[in-house]
Amino acid sequence: MSEIKKLVNDKLKVADELLDGLVEAYDGECKRVGTRSIVRSDIPDGKVALLVGGGSGHEPIYHGLVGRNLADGAACGDIFAAPSPDIVFEATQAVNRGNGVLYLYGNYAGDVMNFDMGAELAEEEGIDVRTVLIWDDACSAAPDNKKDRRGVAGLVPIVKLAGAASQGAKTLDELVATAKKAVLQTRSVGVSMSPGSIPATGNPTFEIEEDKIGLGMGIHGEPGVKEIPMTTADELTPMMLDLVFEDFEKDEEVEALKKGDEIIFFVNSLGSTTMMECLICLRKAKEILDAKGIVVYDTIVGPLVTCQEMAGISFSITRLDGELKKLWDMPCESVCYSKMEG
């Protein structure tokens, strides 16, 4: 494959330049602080703050989830690399309003190390920090081994819910509890058909055979459960959903999905997979969910958690209870995800 034509300038500065662009996309609602963070301009005093973040290159997340009734800030790493502790610390200082800061991000070794170091720096300054890790990728480890699970597209509903909760949360503990519930009730399964490319080098992020699909692959191309022959939307969709259902069943910390459960259903494109394909898969998924009596309270569809021009798709399910449903109804606005009230 010849090198993909990308509209960039200095290949080593893409993470910085895209963040500048992101700030512009917010038309004054957000500003850039420190080395590479973006924070809302008008965080009210006393607000329990929500900080997200991770490597760049997966736009519109994570930094695109800073917004109205969403995250207060994001600490952004270089392409596919965790932000340094300084960046985390700078973002923490910028969002802190004296009532604590929740770090909510995907469970990757590099992110955990750097956010932890950032938290140490923040705590030295007397800022109260708590961490909730996102580990929704059902195919990345067994349910009793969550510390090895990756955070993937489920982060969108999770951050949406935590963002809504953070608006009214009185204490950091309260927000932590809601975020943990959202994480516990969210599972994702992804597949990949072809890699994205690394902006600095043009190299593919992973390799996969022409006629294969990586079932359960991570968003950087981490291996999943197995490679299967390329197939149709209607064959693949039940395979993917079954992996999600199974995981809810096997996980002792959570109940199996059952008739009457209300969920958020999210069909994500990893980049170059078209909306057309997402919608065709959604059609089949809805049929299966309907047959099981699972009620889709709201649907999200689109390329929100990407890895450059990677081809692939993921399904995420978040089960709602009364509290989460109310939080879901709250309107929100950001570059990544927006909705009206209700």
Binding site: L12, G55, G77, D78, I79, F80, A81, A82, P83, S84, P85, D86, I87, Y108, A109, G110, M113, N114, D116, M117, I198, A200, T201, N203, T205, F206, G218, H220, G221, E222, P223
Partner: protein
Amino acid sequence: MAKENLSAEEVKAMLLHVADRIIEAEPELTDADRNLGDGDHGLGMQRGMNAVKEKLEGADFESVDKAFGAAGMAMISSMGGASGAIFGTVFRSGGKALAGKENFGAEELAQLLQAAVEGVMERGGAKPGDKTMIDALHPAAEKGKEVAGGPLVEALDAVAAAAEAGKEASKAMVATMGRAKTLGERSVGHPDAGAVSISIILRAMHEYVAS
């Protein structure tokens, strides 16, 4: 004649030499990470070591631990990613173990390496055999204890050799941590990029002391 019991000023000079060597080795490290990972290790280490140079040049350190600590912080801040945390921790945790010391000899080298390997394992959760830089750093630390009673130049030669052997041994391992996870079985046959870096760092330290 080889140097012994380095002053803080000499430790700084040694770290600057290490930085130059790593910066020179960028293509080799990039290559190593391309085989297994995402090919950014060389650029990351280069960025980190440029930050080390910027921070150390012109600075004065009252004790050796401060020089190591400054180098570690420079790497952590400038590199980001898993490797920024990991390699920064080598110098930061290693340095902490030498708190207040005004000289750096074979005994201090042993303490530095032991604290470094513990710090890295605690920070990142990997253990020997996971095909990471630990597979070079851990044998170096073990060797360090053995040679802690001798002259620094010999100790450094020995730990560098141990790291190099560990790097070679990492070729046969299956990656389980970090980005190389992507490859699983396919990672066999290539050394870990971080292990290459550790080997270069220790060899550069030996060069400085021997010169």
